[in-house]
């Protein structure tokens, strides 16, 4: 072969798919140089990808296993103009709704108790139904999923419209620790970049297909569009009774937090999370905490009026 290898032949040769060009490339400096460049590009693309954290991997696998073929398709109509929720959150939302119903049943059954101070919302999806039934005498309503929340500014933009404007003031515990995370009249985001503009909620696609691989035998069942009512009523009335691990841990870290006035689910970089809105610590302000469902670690914080 005296002719130079064309681009396809050389690329295929680099991949071992055109061995007939080996002799020519070996004796042709031009083709050898081009082949070396293609190998360099191939090696760059093949460079190791840093895998996500074990928590992200475990959560993804758990959701996939729970959303397997035995689970029936569930389609929830989307509200126009709202962000579509992906399949994995649909499952959590359904579970949360079930817990809400349990909570309502408990309330109607006269099992409500009042502690007078702390507030716990309808149990999030990751909590056991038993615990929810035992502790929830609180209000029930649709649980909002805020979708993927990349930063504190976005968290605030999506959550605040649903937070009651008449949020109770701060609670004062015996220790009387001063609030320090909020600036009166201003927002304080632990993770937001300065001047970041919150992402507007995109229009929902017309078809209820939120994703799911489109292979011949991988259907979109269960992956269809779902409601994400970021502005929906998920505010929590104060004085509901009960405690939840993440709320307790948040209070342990910051005792000056007031009652929970808002609850939603969300995720950050694939990590399932709950969003709790605490009134205070300043009057009229709300502290939003995004906590990992697994372990209640703090992912995002936004505090302010």
């Amino acid at each position: 072969m005296s002719e130079h290898a064309d681009a396809e032949a050389l690329s295929a040769f680099v991949d071992g798919e055109a061995p007939e060009w080996a002799d020519h490339v070996a004796g042709c400096p031009s083709c050898a140089a081009s082949a070396a460049e293609l190998r360099a590009v191939s090696a760059t693309v093949a460079a190791a990808v840093e895998p996500p954290s074990a928590a992200v991997r475990d959560a993804a696998i758990a959701v996939a296993l729970d959303g397997g073929p035995a689970r029936p398709a569930v389609v929830v109509p989307m509200r126009p103009g709202r962000r579509p929720v992906q399949a994995r959150w649909l499952l959590g939302a359904v579970a949360a709704m079930i817990l809400v119903v349990v909570g309502v049943a408990a309330a109607l059954g006269g099992s409500g108790r009042s502690s007078g101070r702390q507030t716990t919302v309808a149990g999030p999806a990751f909590e056991s139904g038993k615990a929810a039934a035992a502790d929830n005498a609180g209000p029930a309503g649709p649980v909002t999923d805020l979708g993927d929340v990349p930063d504190a500014a976005t968290l605030r933009a999506r959550a605040l419209p649903a937070v009651p404007t008449s949020a109770p003031g701060p609670q004062t515990l015996g220790g009387g620790r001063a609030a320090s995370s909020a600036n009166s009249g201003a927002s304080s985001d632990s993770n937001a970049t300065g001047g970041a503009v919150p992402a507007p909620l995109p229009a929902a696609p017309t078809a209820g297909v939120a994703g799911g691989a489109t292979t011949g035998n991988a259907s979109n069942s269960g992956a269809g569009g779902a409601a994400s009512n970021s502005g929906a009523a998920s505010a929590v009335a104060p004085n509901a009774v009960g405690t939840r691990p993440c709320e307790e841990q948040a209070r342990a870290r910051q005792p000056s937090l007031g009652p929970v006035v808002y609850f939603a689910t969300a995720r950050r970089q694939g990590v399932p999370a709950v969003v709790l809105g605490f009134s205070g610590p300043d009057p009229g302000s709300v502290t939003l905490l995004m906590l990992a469902q697994d372990g209640c670690g703090e992912l995002l914080r936004s505090a302010g009026a």
Partner: protein, 181 residues
């Protein structure tokens, strides 16, 4: 594999764990963004679990799974095009302007940008070849295209990447070489 196809949760869990990193790598290279990659990988896992009972075994599981992941990525990219971007992905704006960034980070960003500049079809072929090490025939099965098209897409994709990734080059010889149609 048979246990997983039969719905054995433990077997499914092990199967997904064995392939997760490579599937994520495909998604990462396809989408160019860690968050989008995690989303796409999640969708791929769901699709794999749902589709596994119908997996006929005519191709290797990995090849089929890469196909599912590639399609999930294309779906994710379509979704991304539909929704307005709130801004650069977290940290990317800093990375773009940083002068003291590590060489590794700069390379990653350059690679992301370069790959995203390719048509998705070319990118998929290049990624399945270079990241997954699939043969042209396997890529043809995964993407449901003829092997000749695989060869062409990989060659054209690489030809476009050379001037973007090869050090010290602005024009690459592959572009100057004749290309088969």
């Amino acid at each position: 594999m048979e246990a997983a196809r039969g719905g054995d949760r433990g077997a499914l869990d092990a199967l997904l764990r064995r392939h997760y990193d490579r599937l994520y790598a495909v998604c990462r290279r396809m989408t160019g963004d860690p968050t989008d990659a995690a989303d796409a990988c999640q969708e791929a896992l769901l699709a794999i679990v749902r589709g596994l009972p119908g997996f006929d075994g005519r191709s290797a599981f990995a090849t089929w799974a890469y196909r599912v992941a590639t399609n999930a990525c294309l779906d994710e990219l379509r979704r991304r095009r539909r929704r307005p971007e709130p801004g650069l992905p977290e940290g990317r704006d800093e990375a773009w302007s940083a002068t003291d960034d590590t060489e590794g980070a700069a390379t990653r960003i350059d690679l992301d940008v370069a790959l995203q500049s390719l048509p998705a079809d070319y990118r998929a072929a290049v990624v399945l070849r270079d990241v997954c090490g699939l043969s042209y025939d396997e890529i043809a099965v995964a993407l449901v295209i003829p092997p000749g098209t695989v060869r062409s897409r990989i060659a054209r994709g690489r030809a476009a990447l050379v001037p973007l990734l090869a050090p010290g080059r602005n024009q690459g010889p592959p572009a100057e070489r004749p290309t088969s149609t």
